[in-house]
C-alpha cells in the first residue's frame, strides 16, 4: 500500500509540474504562410511566356511574385488557387500593381503560350504563364522542389502536382510557401507585409 501511494503521488506530482511549467510567452507567427529562414534567391529560369516574350523570374524583381505550378486542364486545385489570387489582387486595390502572378505549367504537351494566356485571362489578365520543353520544365521543378506526376485516365491524362504557392519578395528571394487552401485574405495579409518592405 505505501508503495502504491508513492506511485500515485508521483503521477499526480508529474501532472502538476507539467501544468505549472507551462509558460505564456507564446511566439506569434507574422505570416500566414510558412516562412523560410534564411530565404534563398529564387532560381532563375527561361521559359516561353504567355505574354509573348521570354519568361524569367528575374523579370519581376521589384514586384512581389506569387509563383504557382499547375496545368490548364486541372479541375481540382488550379482553378481554386488562381481564383484565390484574383480575389486577393482585387482586395489589394492599387497595391496589386506590384503583385505579379506567375503560373508555370507542368503539362507542356497541352499548355502552349496561347492556351495559357486564354486560361489565365479568365481569372485575371495580368497573370503570366510559362511553358517550355519537358526538360526545361523538369529542371525548373527540380530547382523549386515541385513534384508533378502524370497519371493516365483512359485516353487522356492528368497530373498530381504540388499545390502550394511560393511568395517571392521584391528582391527575388523565396520568402514563404502558402499551402493550398488558404483564403484570399490570408494572401492579402502576407502580400501586404511583403509590399511594405
Amino acid at each position: 500500500m505505501p508503495h502504491l501511494t508513492r506511485r500515485w503521488a508521483a503521477a499526480l506530482l508529474t501532472l502538476l509540474l507539467a501544468t505549472s511549467a507551462d509558460a505564456a510567452n507564446e511566439k506569434i507567427a507574422n505570416f500566414k504562410a510558412g516562412v523560410f529562414d534564411p530565404p534563398r534567391q529564387a532560381p532563375e529560369f527561361s521559359l516561353l511566356g504567355s505574354n509573348g516574350g521570354e519568361l524569367h523570374i528575374s523579370n519581376y524583381h521589384g514586384k512581389v511574385v506569387l509563383l504557382a505550378f499547375g496545368f490548364t486542364s486541372c479541375t481540382a486545385v488550379c482553378p481554386i488557387t488562381l481564383n484565390t489570387f484574383a480575389v486577393a489582387r482585387h482586395k489589394l486595390g492599387t497595391a496589386a500593381a506590384n503583385v505579379q502572378v506567375v503560373y508555370v505549367t507542368v503539362d507542356p504537351q497541352r499548355d502552349d503560350p496561347v492556351r495559357l494566356k486564354k486560361y489565365l485571362g479568365g481569372f485575371d489578365p495580368t497573370f503570366v504563364g510559362g511553358t517550355g520543353t519537358e526538360q526545361q520544365l523538369a529542371a525548373v521543378r527540380k530547382n523549386y522542389g515541385i513534384s508533378a506526376e502524370r497519371q493516365n485516365l483512359g485516353d487522356s491524362y492528368t497530373y498530381e502536382h504540388s499545390s502550394f504557392t511560393y511568395l517571392i519578395d521584391r528582391g527575388g528571394r523565396i520568402r514563404a510557401l502558402m499551402p493550398y487552401g488558404h483564403s484570399p485574405d490570408d494572401y492579402v495579409h502576407d502580400l501586404s507585409i511583403l509590399l511594405k518592405e
Binding site: M1, T5, W8, A9, L12, T14, L15, L16, A18, T19, A21, D22, A23, A24, N25, E26, K27, A29, F31, K32, A33, G34, V35, F36, D37, P38, R40, Y144, G145, S147, E160, H161, S162, S163, F164, L177, P179, G181
Partner: protein, 138 residues
Amino acid sequence: MRARSLTLSILLAAAAVTLAVVGFTPIHSASRDQIFAIPKGTWARRMSGDKIEILPNHIRLTLGIRDILVLRNQDDVPQIFGPTLMMPGQSFRLPFERAAEYTFACTAHASGQMTIVVEPNPTTPWARIRWRINHASN
C-alpha cells in the same frame, strides 16, 4: 485499518485537487514549435544504404499550444523535407490556424504524402486533462 482508510482519503482528496488544477488551468506553451531536423550527414548515410525516416507520415498538432511546424535542414545538401525543398542550413516555419487534416505531397515518404492533423485547442477541463496526460512525456 483506520490508517489505510485515512491514507486512501488523503490520496483521493489529492487526486481531486490535482485533477481540478490540471483541468482548470489553461494550457500555455513555452514554445508552439513542433521541430523536426535533418541532422548533418543524413544524405551521406542514406547514400550508404541507411533507411532514415525523420519526418513521420502523420504529425499531430494542437491549436494554440503546439501549432507551428518547424523543419530544419542541418545537412550539407538540399533536401526535400515535408512539402518543400530546403537548402542546407535553412529552416521552414509553418503556422496553422484552423483545426483540420492537411495533406502534403512529400517525396521523402514512401506513400508520397504527409498528413498533419491539427486538433482544436482543448478548452474543457477534461480535454485539458487528456491533453496533459498525452503530452506529459514530451
